[in-house]
């Protein structure tokens, strides 16, 4: 029987195995040394690899992102552990003007093997400085890979690909998923970027669900199945590159598309998927493409307000019903 481990353990296992294989990998972050990370992302690794490879930093996000950019240019493979992904905002200049552009500006003679990981998402009254996701911004910029695993199996397999590649990778871990358990094989495996997962097969509507929304949409699909309604669910797994072909094939079958995303709608992932489906699959559509997003607002603290800014099982169900009624 296959073992079950948590999402965080799966990702940490990938990191530990790759660090054992490749001495040029090192991790930087606040409290990722002897303490093992606020979210246990590096637990136990300091004892194995010491301070050069598990490097606690001062609180200088711009500084250590810029530093890791230079490190990646010269032959090492940094992993930046932001703890909360919100903290990446202080390093945008380095990331957008430097990290993402070095391979291009050097006409491919420099590589940029850097993994930027952190916990995203709304929940637990984390309020507005510990709830951000921001991934659409990175999808907009040429040069980044944007990866958002939604289960332990994908977390390990996608992290392996991130650590073995030569591109800057945003590795985003939704806080509601960190302690979720799932089957993860002990043998080595990796999952290529740009391959969506069909989480559930169905015939009447396609729902593309991002991050923590996958589990909520699965529940909605079960409810609808009991009414005889068949929903197909797609988890893109990586947003850059985006596997639009799998989405198009699904829409060809179902004729209807809803994109469910916790974060903001304007210029978001749903907008992009919608545009591409309109450009490449317009004739397959039996209804307008719909989006369900969190509210376009900073994240409030009070549980009553916090719950109001994210999609929930009821709004998801209603959106699917609306789509089917079109």
């Amino acid at each position: 029987m296959m073992r079950e481990i948590t999402y965080t353990t799966a990702a940490r296992e990938a990191l530990a195995e790759e660090m054992a294989r490749d001495p040029s990998i090192f991790v930087v972050g606040e409290g990722i040394g002897a303490r093992g990370g606020n979210f246990n992302t590096t637990l136990g690794l300091y004892d194995l690899y010491g301070p050069m490879r598990l490097r606690d930093t001062p609180i200088v996000e711009r500084g250590f992102v810029g530093m890791c950019t230079g490190a990646a240019m010269t032959g090492s493979r940094p992993v930046v552990d932001f703890m909360f992904f919100d903290f990446i905002l202080d390093s945008f200049g380095e990331l957008f003007n430097q990290t993402s552009k070095m391979q291009y500006m050097s006409s491919g003679r420099l590589k940029m093997p850097i993994v930027l990981r952190g916990c995203i998402g709304i929940g637990g009254s984390s309020a507005t400085h510990h709830s951000g996701s921001y991934y659409p911004i990175f999808v907009h910029i040429p040069g980044f890979r944007v990866v958002m695993p939604t289960n332990p199996y994908d977390a390990k397999g996608l992290f392996k690909t991130a650590l073995r590649g030569d591109d800057p990778v945003l590795f985003l871990e939704h806080k509601s998923l960190l302690n979720v358990k799932g089957h993860v094989p002990e043998e080595d495996y990796s999952i290529p970027f740009g391959q969506a997962a069909i989480v559930r097969e169905g015939t009447q509507a396609t729902v593309v669900a991002l991050g923590s929304m996958v589990r909520l949409v699965e529940k909605a699909a079960e409810t609808l199945a009991s009414e005889g309604i068949s929903i197909e669910i797609i988890d893109p797994r990586t947003l850059a590159p985006l596997d639009i072909d799998t989405i198009l094939q699904s829409v060809q079958k179902t004729g209807r598309l809803l994109i469910v995303d916790e974060t903001f709608a304007p210029c978001g992932i749903g907008s992009e998927i919608s545009s591409q489906v309109m450009e490449k699959g317009f004739d397959d559509l039996d209804a307008p493409v719909m989006r369900l997003n969190g509210l376009h607002t900073p994240t409030p603290y009070s549980p009553a307000l916090e719950a109001a800014v994210v999609p929930n099982p009821q709004t998801i169900l209603q959106s699917i019903r609306d789509l089917l009624a079109e």
């Binding site: 490097r55 950019t69 490190a71 010269t74 200049g93 380095e94 050097s106 003679r109 890979r145």
Partner: protein, 323 residues
């Protein structure tokens, strides 16, 4: 300054400075002639800094530079042909026409980029130092930056990180007194840059940046210390650009012609030549020989650039990702 200056060493440095000067003069001429489609920030007047520092480096050492970086690229070993061709936007340029003046890349010789943004080079050189320490390589990261970077957060963050982890990094502040047109004296209450280095816990050198021998000696000490595990250093090199911030720009309203003239009198190339002649270390003929050699190299570079093709437009989106 060393007690004894050998002829070979001094002429090598003089030759490098002259190579930068003549290449820059060629670029200024080419800019005026419409051959350079983008910006062109020359290094005229500051040649002693890049020359004195880079003479201590090899191709495995990593240099991270500024918007005024032609001199750094040339001193690090990028051939003049590739620098001129890059500014002409040709495929034979060191960045294959993707960069121009402010994005000169040649990782093959450890030239890790000039940059259009002030500050990041300080952090990236720190990162190079991290790699070298992690992988036990005897190399150094070098950041060149102007006085304009001194009050940027990257300076504070980079120096502190390099200091707390004893990284092999050389921070070279080229203080030419103006951040474009804003005087360093206006922007900075404490202008003792070497003292700032010491507050981060690293040695700071206050240097005449127009004295190539002094820069060489200080850099030599700093590089040796870094290579042997002694951590980072900062060199504060006081110098001056005698041409406008960028070619084609009005050079008035922020400095006087008298000031520019006074620094022309301290030209690093003339100064070293006079010294070597006065002290009978070299003869007129030595300099004439180098002059004519460099003249031929730079003329060839311009001719090469002019005759080189532009990049294929079909390649405009290549190399964004590694695969």
């Amino acid at each position: 300054m060393p007690d004894e200056v050998t002829k070979e060493h001094a002429l090598t440095l003089w030759r490098q400075m002259l190579m930068i000067r003549r290449t820059e003069e060629q670029l200024a001429k080419s800019y005026a002639g419409g051959m350079i489609p983008g910006a062109c920030h020359t290094y005229v007047g500051e040649e002693a800094v890049a020359t004195g520092v880079c003479a201590n480096l090899n191709h495995e050492d990593a240099v991270f530079s500024t918007h005024r970086g032609h001199g750094h690229a040339l001193a690090k070993g990028v051939p003049p042909r590739e620098v001129v061709a890059e500014l002409f936007g040709r495929v034979t340029g060191c960045s294959r026409g993707r960069g121009g003046s402010m994005h000169l890349f040649s990782p093959e010789v450890g030239m890790m980029g000039t940059s259009g943004i002030v500050g990041p080079c300080i952090l990236q050189a720190t990162g190079a130092g991290y790699t070298f320490k992690l992988l036990n390589k005897p190399n150094v990261g070098v950041a060149f930056f102007g006085d304009g970077a001194m009050n940027n957060g990257a300076f504070h963050e980079g120096l502190n990180l390099a200091a707390i982890w004893d990284l092999p990094v050389i921070f070279v502040c080229e203080d030419n007194m103006y951040a474009t047109e804003v005087p360093f004296a206006y922007a900075t209450k404490n202008q003792d840059v070497a003292a700032r280095a010491r507050t981060y816990g690293m040695p700071g050198y206050s240097l005449d940046g127009n004295d190539v021998l002094a820069v060489y000696e200080a850099a030599n000490e700093a590089v040796q210390r870094a290579r042997s595990g002694g951590g980072p250093s900062l060199l504060h090199c006081k110098t001056y650009r005698t041409r406008p911030h960028a070619e084609g720009m009005r050079d008035a309203g922020y400095r006087t012609t008298e000031e520019v003239e006074s620094w022309r009198q301290r030209d690093p190339i003339v100064t070293l030549r006079d010294k070597l002649l006065t002290e009978n270390i070299a003869e007129e003929g030595d300099f004439e020989e180098i002059e004519s050699e460099i003249k031929a190299i730079v003329e060839d570079a311009a001719e090469f650039a002019k005759n080189s093709p532009y990049p294929d437009p079909a390649t405009a989106a290549e190399h964004i990702y590694s695969v």
